[in-house]
Amino acid sequence: MAGLEDLYREIILDHYRNPRNRGELEVPPAVQAVGFNPLCGDEVVIYVEVRDGVITDVSTGGQGCSISQSSASMMSTAVKGRTVAEVRRLVWAFKRMMSIHGSGIGGTGDELDDEPDSGNDAGDVKLGDLEALQGVVKFPVRIKCATLSWNTLVQALDETFA
């Protein structure tokens, strides 16, 4: 049985207590997207600014539990300064890590889209600190907390290129 320390890794609590890239960006040039977790009422706001295919700035707002807020914070540091193509691969790799397919739990995870056609091997994407969130998979009801900001980021990117 998974224990609390599997869920609340120190780096997660650090991002929760000291969230990075917190605030708002001017819209436009930035694009804003809002994501809701209807389960718990959490709400996350993501601002992204894209120039020449590169995410030049990202900011997060909203309210939520330690998992959703730390995931948003870690996401913001992971995507800032990277190309949109890299970030889409990162999103895919993160969501694959957060997927409960194959872990025998079944049911409440997010649907995983096909791997983006990257030209590179997306399986090589390094998740780094984000791997701290892997323990969330052992707590299926919390998976949506961890993926909320990532799905909202995808919404913002889709809107940027709409």
């Binding site: 609390l4 389960l39 718990c40 009422g41 959490d42 709400e43 939520g64 539990c65 707590f139 907390c145």
Partner: protein, 413 residues
């Protein structure tokens, strides 16, 4: 032992098989009965016995067990009618849950009686089940939806009640808030609504399981409740309504059982309550609900209420003593004015994180908006952590909750 309310609590726990299990090596501390109660052995046995001895479709069967199944179902209907003091068992319509009961009223009665220029009044502390059906029908029929706000100490603000009811055709109100525990003054509201020419629909999902209920004394016109919060199974709820209203209302779902005759050019609806019970009903669940009613009658609803008032008082006192201003329990401060629903905000710990640590210690509570988002906005919180009490809880459960809150405070400290 002053706070345990007498024989209920530890004395009834043995009746509920699930409460004998452990969670992570600790005895389960079940404090989520406002979401769904546990089931006593007698209810589980009654449902099993139905399947093992008399399982057959009800009504119209000419053979022995079909007649027995019908008899068991109608005996449950009579037991439910007696339990809420309905004048007649014909006024008890079985639904899936209270949500379906309210949707039935909104669709059937609302569809026939509401239109532009009309108004329906509901309250800010309603569960989504008594909000969204009215939003849907308002969009369709063009009537106005008005709100009674929540005021001080978790009570409805009735200052402008007469103005809100002016021209209204229906008042929809919860008898007991699933978040605040507030017991609303249903009789007073019903009298005011009737004076204004409006009918009264009572969401009694949190009331019927916990207090003696008399639909006639409450002055309601429609009253809905649900089986699984009152020791019964899931999948079975009840709409009680005055017979003349049910008679005049058009059918809700169409199909078998709800007709007297069907022709190529139309149909003749069945008598009440069958007019509103299309298709094969959840027979085993109805039998289970009937047994749940008998179980609660055996405990005595006056004793159930006394037990919960006493245990709620103990919980409010204990949490206040241990955590003071760090822990807010939303809703009325006086135990006699509320039910055993404790919606808490503890420091700035998010309810999801709080409930996770509680779960680690086997304490089952609910975190979230409790299907009451307008109320959450009023309270200015995204969510709360809710512990709720029932017949099998006692002071040891409250103590375990208080200890677990302390552990959460340390973890996130």
């Amino acid at each position: 032992m002053s706070g345990d309310g007498g024989e209920l609590g530890a004395g009834t726990r043995a009746d509920f098989p699930l409460l004998g299990r452990e969670v992570r090596g600790r005895p389960i501390i079940y404090l989520d009965s406002a979401a769904s109660s546990q089931k006593p052995r007698s209810v589980l046995d009654a449902m099993n016995s139905y399947y093992e001895t008399i399982n057959a479709n009800v009504h119209r069967g000419a053979y022995e067990i079909a007649a027995q199944a019908t008899e068991a179902m109608e005996a449950a209907r009579a037991a439910v009618a007696r339990f809420v003091n309905a004048p007649s068992a014909d006024e008890i319509v079985f639904t899936k849950n209270v949500t379906e009961a309210i949707n039935l009223v909104a669709r059937s009665w609302g569809g026939a009686n509401l239109g532009p220029g009309d108004a329906v009044v509901i309250t800010e502390m309603e569960h989504h089940a008594n909000i969204v059906p009215w939003h849907i029908m308002a969009a369709e029929k063009g009537f106005e939806l008005r709100w009674i706000d929540v005021g001080a100490d978790g009570q409805l603000d009735l200052g402008n009640l007469d103005r809100l009811l002016d021209g209204a055709k229906l008042l929809g109100v919860t008898a007991m808030s699933n978040v605040l525990g507030t017991l609303n003054p249903i009789r007073r509201l019903a009298d005011a609504a009737h004076d204004a020419g409006a009918l009264v629909l009572v969401d009694a999902a949190q009331y019927v399981p916990h207090l003696p209920t008399d639909v006639q004394a409450l002055g309601a016109d429609f009253l809905g409740f649900t089986g699984h919060k009152m020791c019964g199974p899931t999948g079975i709820g009840v709409l009680w309504a005055r017979a003349e209203l049910l008679e005049a209302m058009p059918p809700f779902l169409g199909g078998g059982e709800m007709i007297l005759d069907v022709r190529k050019d139309g149909f003749l609806p069945n008598h009440i309550p069958h007019k509103f019970e299309a298709g094969t009903p959840p027979i085993a669940e109805i039998v289970g609900l009937g047994e749940a009613v008998r179980y609660l009658e055996g405990l005595g609803m006056d004793r159930v209420r006394e037990h919960e008032v006493s245990l709620t008082a103990y919980a409010l006192r204990t949490l206040q003593d241990r955590y003071g201003p760090e822990l807010a329990v939303h809703g009325p401060s006086e135990p006699a004015c509320r039910g055993g629903v404790l919606s808490m905000s503890f420091r700035d710990i998010h309810p999801h994180d709080l409930s996770q640590v509680l779960d680690d210690r086997g304490v089952c509570v609910r975190a979230g908006h409790h299907c009451a988002k307008p109320l959450m906005r009023h309270l200015g919180v995204p969510a709360t952590t809710r512990a709720s009490l029932y017949v099998y809880n006692d002071t040891s459960d409250v103590d375990a909750l208080a200890d677990a809150l302390g552990a959460a405070g340390e973890f996130f400290g």
